[in-house]
């Protein structure tokens, strides 16, 4: 597959209280961002088990982004702290599975940051597009 035709598939886990609302705001504000993102709404970034990230990346996704509330803003007080603690374990495992570290991102996006959401997704899509398809993609 030539790189020009390659359209990355990115899975985004967005927390219900901030980032999903942020994505919503980007939508209702008619901000443009690439359609490569598939959003999965979760109650909290702290509930995204590393299993989900690794499974996604080894079973066909080209990138995974977890979006949560800014530290201190979590609806459940410290869910995003848990997500951040797991970030390092996830990055180590990417190495174990031979997946480039750029394919995974953890970002804090609040409900009012629609433009920032669009910008982060644009950046993420471009960096994954530059990497090419995931090594696990058949």
């Amino acid at each position: 597959m030539a790189n020009e035709e390659f359209e990355p598939l990115i899975i985004g886990f967005c927390c219900n209280w901030c980032s999903y609302a942020g994505a919503d705001l980007a939508g209702v504000s008619r901000l443009q961002y690439p359609p490569n993102l598939r959003i999965v709404r979760v109650m909290c970034s702290g509930m995204v088990h590393p299993n989900l990230v690794i499974d996604a990346l080894t079973k066909g996704a080209d990138g995974v982004i977890i979006c949560g509330c800014h530290l201190g803003d979590c609806h459940y007080l410290d869910g995003n702290v848990k997500a951040e603690n797991r970030k390092e374990a996830i990055e180590l495992m990417l190495e174990d599975f031979g997946v480039e570290p750029e394919r995974f991102r953890l970002e804090w996006i609040s409900a009012s940051e629609g433009p920032r959401f669009a910008k982060v997704i644009r950046e993420m899509t471009e960096s994954v597009r530059a990497l090419g398809p995931s090594p696990y993609r058949a």
């Binding site: 299993n51 603690n85 390092e88 374990a89 180590l92 495992m93 031979g98 090594p135 696990y136």
Partner: protein, 318 residues
């Protein structure tokens, strides 16, 4: 009437056969019910007739087939297939048969790289061609038995617990199904847990675990919380026996020897990924996941088959 049993060893050290012997006294009662018709470790039965005159591999028909060892060569693959055809029920005995076992750590490298290292790359060996004459060719990777033929009963462990073999065979004699309960080693481990590591550092097992043998188990702190890498959270339970005369607490075998669990019973359920689960467990109790040495091999030590260990995908040069 005695049921016919065929036993076959494939890519294995022979420890699981010793475990059958290790059943001890209950074996004497069982033997009356069993008639071993084929067992290379005990008797000299040729696959192609006594003089090698037959064309087809021959293993006598049996009610129960026991296979220990994973599948590494073309010959072992063929043996597994014939065993499946000749046996009504097939048991995978030991971690090698169930998940590839220790030999499956070779699955981290492509076959060519292994040949290169063993026959030409090692400093202490004279370079030689890869031997091919009179040897069955190796498969590309080490397989669990169930990757070649369907398996009815799994008895993992390296080596396994003699009591489970007795239970499995008794179940089969009574016509019942045998399956280990989907519980983790931690679920049956009696030590004291506080859900938080004592310090962030991971210790090596040569530093001794803190314990007091005169105290009951409830007073020993969880080994993982003491900072040792214990694979209990992601490993199937079943290795432990009840202490005393069968009325005490169940203690997993390695824990009983004051060593952390090494994970030989394999994943708790099919499709689980102990590497990922363990890394999560390590970071959530507050140990530093970076300090785990050789993560892939260590956390997949006995379970490299079924694609859990594979050569890393080649990265495009950037």
């Amino acid at each position: 009437m005695a049921i016919k049993v065929a036993e076959e060893w494939l890519n294995i050290c022979g420890g699981c056969e010793v475990t059958i012997l290790d059943i001890g006294e209950p074996l004497l009662d069982l033997l009356g019910e069993l008639n071993f018709v084929h067992m290379p470790v005990l008797m000299d039965h040729k696959y192609f007739g006594q003089m090698g005159e037959k064309d087809e591999m021959e293993i006598p028909e049996a009610d129960v087939g026991i296979i220990s060892g994973g599948v590494r060569t073309e010959k072992e693959k063929k043996v597994a297939e014939v065993m499946r055809k000749q046996c009504k029920t097939l048991i995978a005995l030991g971690s090698c048969a169930c998940y590839g076992g220790i030999p499956a750590m070779a699955n981290m490298y492509p076959l060519e790289a292994l040949y290169e290292k063993v026959f030409r790359g090692s400093k202490t060996t004279d370079s030689a061609e890869t031997p091919s004459e009179n040897l069955p060719p190796l498969l590309e990777k080490v397989l669990g038995v169930d990757e070649v033929v369907p398996v009815d009963v799994y008895i993992p462990g390296c080596p396994t617990n003699p009591d489970i073999i007795v239970k499995a065979i008794t179940c089969l004699l009574e016509g019942k199904e045998f399956k280990l309960e989907e519980r983790s080693v931690c679920d049956e481990c009696p030590v004291k847990r506080e859900k938080k590591a004592a310090g962030g550092q991971i210790k090596r097992t040569l530093e001794s675990v803190e314990f007091d043998q005169s105290q009951p188990w409830e007073n020993t702190r969880c080994f993982m919380e003491q900072g040792f890498l214990c694979l209990g959270p992601v490993t199937l339970a079943g290795c432990g026996n009840k202490e005393g005369n069968g009325d005490g607490v169940t203690v997993p075998r390695c824990i009983k020897g004051n060593m952390p669990c090494r994970g030989c019973f394999g994943p708790i359920r099919k499709g689980a990924n102990p590497l990922v689960d363990m890394m999560t467990a390590i970071s959530s109790i507050g140990l530093d996941a970076k300090q785990v040495p050789d993560r892939r091999a260590l956390l997949n030590r006995y379970i490299g088959a079924q694609n859990r260990l594979r050569p890393l995908p080649a990265r495009p040069s950037r």
